[in-house]
């Protein structure tokens, strides 16, 4: 994965839980441009652990002077967001991958409907800039619990396309109303918690939307879980995966070569063949089909875990 060493030039709290970080090239060089929805992977050396988390870029896709991300502190998470919140200050240097987009707009669409829940607003911030620049018809629906928690409100332009649905102001998002009466050629993009994505899929199905017009990105960091062990078929070694570590991170720590890109179970790059499995793979990815998951013959080490007697993978 191609990456650059970048300097943190700003770290600012947007809400009590969300911080914005800006990265620039240490010698002021221009960074590669990207498209709305792209993410970068930030490397976080945390003690003797090297963590890598993916974050959507929230800065202007046409502005190569820096990359910006918004990080929500997840106290129950594995520590990546705590590291960013607690330890990262302007002047620090961090390794950041080049942008990659797994959640791009379908520019053949006649209209774009963006639906965000909570911190799921992040990929849409750059997409809104792109859509406004291209003068394409769109609407953004942003659901948040309260105005103080709605970090996106500080980052979105004040345009009539943006609709905030703040539940503690009694203004909840009505998906049926949003999905009804959209012109032919509309594409829908949802980012947020799993529940929101399921709700959009269900309302869409009820209203006759084809699946291909509904896109989603679950913003997912690898879920923590119970520690487990994995045997590597090629070397015969057994490695331990800690409770707050992903299998991918454990493989990296053991210096096993493995390709990756999204680290969120979406891109398919880390797909690994399972040689034998006595127990249950906890699939957390969005890459394998349901049938492939239940067959237990493949695993996505960036997000998935294992419970049971023994797991041997082809690495």
């Amino acid at each position: 994965m191609t990456s650059l060493m970048l300097r943190v030039t700003a770290a600012e709290s947007l809400t009590p839980l969300v911080k914005r970080f800006r990265f620039e090239h240490p010698r002021g060089a221009t960074l590669p441009l990207f498209s709305g929805g792209a993410h970068v992977v930030v490397e976080m050396p945390d003690g003797d652990m090297l963590r890598r988390n993916a974050y959507s870029l929230i800065s202007d896709p046409q502005d190569g002077s820096g990359y910006e991300i918004a990080v929500r502190r997840e106290d129950g998470g594995r520590g990546g967001s705590r590291f960013m919140h607690g330890g990262v200050r302007p002047g620090d240097q961090l390794r950041v991958s080049l942008p990659l987009n797994l959640f791009a707009l379908d520019l053949r669409a006649r209209k774009h409907v963006l639906i965000a829940g909570g911190i799921g607003i992040t990929p849409f911030i750059a997409q809104v800039r792109q859509l406004l620049r291209m003068q394409l018809p769109f609407e953004l629906h942003y659901a948040a619990r309260s105005r103080t928690e709605a970090a996106g409100l500080h980052l979105l332009p004040d345009v009539p396309h943006v609709h905030a649905h703040i539940s503690d102001e009694g203004n909840r998002m009505d998906l049926g109303a949003i999905l009804s009466g959209q012109p032919l050629g509309t594409q829908v993009y949802t980012c947020g918690p799993e529940g929101l994505i399921t709700a959009v899929a269900q309302s869409g199905a009820r209203l006759g939307w084809p699946k291909s017009a509904l896109h989603s990105e679950v913003f997912q960091a690898p879920p923590p879980g119970r520690p487990f062990e994995v045997m590597l078929a090629r070397s015969g070694r057994t490695i331990a995966v800690g409770a707050h570590q992903s299998l991918l991170e454990a493989l990296e720590a053991a210096e096993v070569e493995i390709d990756w890109s999204c680290r969120g179970g979406a891109c398919g790059r880390c797909e690994t063949r399972v040689v034998s499995c006595h127990g249950r793979i906890e699939h957390h990815d969005h890459w394998l089909s349901e049938d492939e998951q239940s067959a237990q013959t493949r695993i996505m080490p960036c997000v998935s875990r294992f419970r049971g007697e023994s797991l041997i993978i082809d690495r």
Partner: protein, 204 residues
Amino acid sequence: MRATEFSPSIPSRPVYGGLRPHGALPSLMLAEGAGGEALAELAKADPPVMRHAQLFYVPSGAPAGPDLAARLRGLGPASYVEGPSWAALRPRFVRALADAHMGTRLYLAGSEGLIGQAMAEALAAGLPLEAIDAEHRGDIARRMQCVHCKGITENVTTDPFICAHCGLNLFVRDHYSRRIGAFQGVCVDAETPGIVPEPQEIKP
């Protein structure tokens, strides 16, 4: 008359999965000739479908028997429009597409030329491919585009045939353009001018 079964061909040759009930969603229906029977069968399988349907019908070429047009109207579609040809109905069909919303289904039944052209309009209007059901009924004449002069020859029933525009002898390919709703015709005697195989009736 039943839905046409086509012989096996290249994977890109269009096949038509038939009209299937999708519940009481708003829909556009377009049929020509014997295709009207496919709509009548759909209405029988799923009666509420008609209440939300705008139906367009070209009776020409319908088999004799009970008046299909009257039967279709009697099924109680939300609206019914009849025309002497696809060309005559097209502006109203395009208008209906422009007013349609996501969630609308399209049912097409009739010749390949009609299905192909209506589908091309629908896709251009932004209707997703998965929202379209089509069933082939009636004659198997093809709508052909000459790959040399780009002219369209309608109702081609023999292979090879003569391009109605440039006069070349064209071989009937199974290669199909979804954008223009036509099969491709390629010069059959380019390497051996004048040596043209005996024309055969095309088969389904």
